[in-house]
């Protein structure tokens, strides 16, 4: 798949949220073979080296900084600018949440920040509510993809409203990446079956009992979902439809 003209090596994207050890990153990346890996941007007192950054660079994966934790457009824009400087990428996963309890996107601040960052030359991938109207507005201001949530961050509930995800898919021509809420493999497969181009999973992997194994499961699920979508599923019917011929039955 491509985002902003760049070919990404996989449809499973992984987040580093919930990682307890940098050592685990190698195992997870090897199992997930991710399209990219997201990181947050935080204060540091260590000016020597960034352990996580060095590890990810060593693994050769594309790094996507995010603005996780930002509550206003102003904070998110500054965080994105710092990320561009520190990580030497103009890609940013734009997150602006309305409060720290629901962690739901703040649509007004999000759109404002997206517009500002696009104008400053960023490739903006916004984390958004599963709302086709907002998704279209984000694309109108120049976002390179949209990342609707399946369910609230960290809940692992999967896709609360699959029809909303389908509606976002239908509303925009840019890549749609299902973000937030993935709990297990079937959630990821469903996202791809519904037409999402990729899935971002973080704590589904990092907080699983066996993270690398879950990463492998999600990779297989994403591939299965994409294959199934291309294969064209049969319609859902309300009544039974025989699959065996009526002719030639014994005793008739």
């Amino acid at each position: 798949m491509q985002v902003a003209g760049i070919e990404l090596p996989g449809r499973l994207w992984i987040g580093t949220g919930g990682l307890t050890s940098t050592r685990l990153v190698g195992e997870i990346v090897e199992a997930a073979r991710p399209g990219l890996v997201t990181v947050s941007v935080r204060r540091t007192s260590d000016t020597g080296s960034g352990g996580l950054l060095d590890t990810l660079r060593g693994l050769g994966v594309r790094i996507l900084p995010n603005t996780a934790g930002c509550l206003s457009a102003r904070e998110a824009v500054l965080t994105a600018q710092l990320a561009r400087e520190a990580l030497e990428t103009d890609w940013v996963k734009l997150e602006v949440v309305g409060d720290e309890t629901s962690l739901m996107p703040d649509a007004v601040e999000l759109l404002d920040a997206a517009e500002t960052l696009v104008r400053q030359g960023f490739t903006v991938l916004p984390y958004t509510s599963a709302d086709p109207v907002l998704a279209r507005r984000l694309v109108d201001v120049g976002c390179a993809a949209v990342m609707p949530l399946g369910s609230p961050i960290g809940t692992g509930r999967g896709l609360d409203d699959p029809r909303a995800i389908e509606a976002v898919r239908a509303a925009v021509a840019v890549p749609v990446v299902l973000d937030a809420g993935i709990g297990t493999a079937s959630d990821a497969a469903l996202a791809l079956e519904l037409g999402c181009d990729a899935v971002l999973a973080a704590t589904a992997i990092t907080r699983a009992d066996r993270p690398a194994q879950m990463a492998a499961a999600l990779r297989a699920a994403v591939e299965a979902g994409e294959l199934a979508r291309r294969a064209g599923r049969i319609p859902r019917l309300t009544t039974a439809r025989a699959s065996s011929p009526m002719a030639g039955r014994v005793g008739t």
């Binding site: 987040g15 580093t16 949220g17 919930g18 990682l19 940098t22 997201t38 990181v39 947050s40 941007v41 935080r42 204060r43 540091t44 007192s45 260590d46 000016t47 020597g48 080296s49 960034g50 996580l52 950054l53 060095d54 990810l56 790094i63 900084p65 995010n66 996780a68 934790g69 500054l78 965080t79 600018q81 710092l82 990320a83 561009r84 400087e85 520190a86 990580l87 996963k93 997150e95 973080a202």
Partner: protein, 62 residues
């Protein structure tokens, strides 16, 4: 004079520059009073009393 580095007070010499409080530029970025300062300009950016300096890097999250 006193500046603020990542939310903590820090005492620096008069005439100090950003470079003096941020020794290495690898994988980090700095902002002075809410504006990003590219690493190439740290040495030529003087600090003033009560300046707020932010120093960030990539961290697990999101």
């Amino acid at each position: 004079m006193r500046i603020n580095l990542n939310g903590q007070p820090r005492f620096v010499e008069e005439g100090a520059t950003l470079q003096d409080v941020l020794p290495s530029a690898r994988g980090v970025a700095a902002a002075l009073n809410g504006s990003v300062v590219p690493a190439a300009s740290w040495e030529s950016t003087p600090l003033s009393e009560d300046d707020a300096v932010e120093l960030v890097t990539a961290h697990q999250g999101g």
